[in-house]
Symmetry: C2
Subunit: 240 residues, 2 copies
């Protein structure tokens, strides 16, 4: 039964790729959560470990790429299998980038230890939580091929953008009040931006659920938050 044997080997290969992606995703999720804590608690030892572990995520990406290349060469997938194989490279790329963003937050948290504290940033761990959970849910939706859950993630991306804008305004107000907060404020603005970008990658992954399942690519006119454009942003002339 060579045909059946081939089908079985093929399914095993696909499953193995998917397992690698989910393991990689779990590692990236943990890195993000740890990086947000390192920023909030000014924990430079934990930050150093996060930076070190980023290379493991890179190795996962390379491993997925090699598995995909082998599967293309040996098994020539079609239809949904083909779409799953193509999307695996893309998901590995998004996860690798999300891992980079976690490492970048960790690097900034080390510099933040040397700067004045910015008081009362309750919104930062909240944004971190939202972004981390979105990535987790996007990977769950991908694993379960759950189109409804994937769709809901696109809408959450907009809410997250609003949280991001509110946090940026808060940071800007602190920076205007006290020049000692300008340098830490800038780092925290970039940390917030990283979290917003991680949510974008989660959304990219969620959009691939539709593609893998139905073959249609999400149109690019994704609901867009206002970004951090600060129309009517706090100004030094405002009464404080």
């Amino acid at each position: 039964m060579p045909a059946e044997h081939t089908v079985k080997a093929f399914t095993e290969d696909l499953d193995k790729i998917e397992r690698s992606l989910l393991e990689m995703g779990g590692l990236v999720e943990a890195q993000i959560a740890r990086a947000v804590t390192a920023v909030a608690q000014r924990d430079s030892e934990s930050a150093a470990r996060i930076i070190e572990q980023d290379s493991e995520i890179d190795r996962y990406e390379q491993d997925v790429q090699e598995q995909v290349e082998r599967l293309f060469a040996l098994r020539q997938p079609v239809a949904q299998d083909l779409r799953m194989t193509i999307s695996a490279i893309q998901i590995a790329g998004y996860l690798e980038r999300a891992g980079d963003l976690a490492a970048s937050m960790a690097r900034r948290s080390i510099v933040l230890c040397e700067t004045r504290e910015v008081p009362g940033l309750y919104a930062l761990p909240k944004l971190g939580d939202a972004s981390h959970t979105m990535l987790k849910d996007a990977l769950d939706a991908y694993r379960d091929r759950n189109i409804d859950q994937a769709k809901s993630i696109r809408h959450r991306d907009r809410e997250l953008d609003d949280m991001y804008v509110a946090l940026c305004r808060e940071l800007l107000t602190h920076m205007l009040e006290d020049p000692h907060r300008i340098t830490p404020g800038v780092h925290l603005l970039f940390v917030a931006k990283n979290l917003e970008r991680i949510a974008d990658h989660a959304t990219n992954i969620a959009e691939l659920v539709d593609y893998v399942t139905t073959g249609t690519r999400a149109s690019e006119d994704r609901p867009r938050g206002r970004g951090f454009l600060m129309e009517g942003a706090p100004s030094p002339d405002d009464p404080t």
Copy 2:
């Protein structure tokens, strides 16, 4: 001669994908150059056109993805053809993201029109030029399968990181001197970050030249610039 006919059709398909990628790249290059000018000259009309044109770049990405999917399904590429086909999805992704970064700069340039000018930012157009040229050269290296040129781009990425750090320090000094420059300064920091990211995408594309040609993926321990970590950054207590 069905075999020869198939080979010819295959080569034509691959050539068409490559043409689409290079056209897409040309459009992205133009968007980046225009966005830097829009920021430097506070030209909100040009910025609006850049934002509008971003959807054309998205359509190119979708078109490349569809061509790749068709080629996989119909022609089952192997060896170098397989690698070229896989890398086409990745390059389209990097270019789409570089286009997004150009549109993001354009959006910030519109907000900048409403803020106080930050004087003497000679370094910004210089960074813009360097980043734009790197992307152009990466695409040329890809088109010509020129491994040496691709290698030189990795080293230029480091130089560009240094330019980026210098510009960030300059901006920070302006922000510390005059609180009216904090809001425009933050926007310009993000514009600088976008240009640094575009150069990263150029480096990603350059790394794929090696992969397509020889089958080896660049190791991830890319020479890393210091980033914008601002050790010893200007402080409000420094004499100015």
